[in-house]
Symmetry: C2
Subunit: 217 residues, 2 copies
């Protein structure tokens, strides 16, 4: 039964969720908030939706690039190198980004008579991203229920999985991860050095997948 809308970035996690729950997904939405890597990941989001015959929409949120404070919105030079979970990655947080994307998705769900919003946040996000943590997910779920006539709910099936476990699920599903984008710098190839590239490499290795990514280094 098609009862859900998914927030789909075109990265590894949400692409895996798309394939994993394809039977329930009526609509996928990507957000363009003006980062360098949006332009690289959204075409992959579109590609996978076409493969699965799922309707895909891109929602422009360009004002975030203009008014929000984040190194992710300040060009590739501003993206720190290092490990995803380290303190210096905090600068890449876009304030309340998931709250904004979930709120739009909730209104879209109600507008389309859909009951669930799906998001692919995971355990590895919790350290630095407050709007990926279980407390946030639970609170937003209650907010969506209270704020809609049909009581929209938030589903976050990967919330307590690692990115490596998600990649292992993608391996079972036969997903081609060369057709996903992670790098926050959003250059021609993945840089291989920023936090999201380091995390991507680790997850693929953990899942025993030969890394199909072309890196700059």
């Amino acid at each position: 039964m098609k009862d859900s809308i998914i927030i789909l970035s075109g990265g590894m996690d949400s692409t895996t969720l798309l394939y994993d729950y394809q039977e329930r997904i009526a609509l996928a939405i990507s957000f363009d908030y003006g980062s360098n890597h949006n332009a690289k990941e959204i075409p992959f989001a579109k590609y996978h939706c076409e493969q699965l015959g799922i309707k895909h929409l891109v929602i422009p949120l360009k004002f975030m690039g203009e008014y929000f404070r984040s190194s992710l919105l300040s060009g590739d030079e501003a993206i720190p190198e290092g490990h995803y979970a380290s303190e210096n990655m905090k600068s890449t947080v876009v304030p309340f980004r998931n709250g904004i994307m979930l709120a739009v998705a909730t209104g879209m769900a109600e507008s389309n008579d859909l009951q669930y919003v799906m998001m692919a946040n995971h355990g590895g996000d919790h350290t630095i991203y407050p709007d990926c943590r279980p407390e946030f997910v639970d609170a937003f779920d209650k907010t969506a229920q209270a704020g809609t006539f049909n009581g929209v709910r938030l589903l976050s099936p990967y919330c307590n999985m690692t990115k490596g476990q998600i990649a292992a699920r993608g391996k079972e599903l036969g997903i081609d991860y060369s057709k996903t984008w992670s790098c926050y710098r959003g250059g021609d190839k993945h840089c291989g050095k920023c936090g999201t590239c380091v995390e991507r490499k680790e997850a693929l290795a953990d899942a025993g997948i030969d890394d199909p990514t072309e890196y700059e280094d």
Copy 2:
């Protein structure tokens, strides 16, 4: 101390809140989601911010006019006449509109080191608008706290007041309500017949204010 951001439509309630809490408000934001009445109310929002020396920004959310289901986004002919609290006004609900505006305001608050988001929802909204009710306000407050580093909070000082009580507060503050907009139809003058016009007339009468509004009828 300037610690707050306000969601300011340019209607009676949020304009009153702006004057009432002007000492604490560092930034006011209005949202243009593509309704007829946005174009009428936003210039009033801007006017009052100029009067008070408060910074004002307009955030475009035009995709809501394109993808969301609501008579408010379908032109003036679609707006029903009658009482604000009646069942047929349900068609004017924009799904999860307050959730979306609050989420953007929360990210803006964190980006600007502000601790509070203010919204002027009131008791008369509760009947038909789920995203104006106390349960929604409480749940969003927890969501904003959980989803931000600085624990942004939601303030909703008029949540249990009637619109008439808000107008009475505005009378004390000396607010000129001729410089506010209510009518959902967004024509040259207030139509005087839609739910928001009926509610406006009642509130001004309840507060003992000579109605300064020019109506079509």
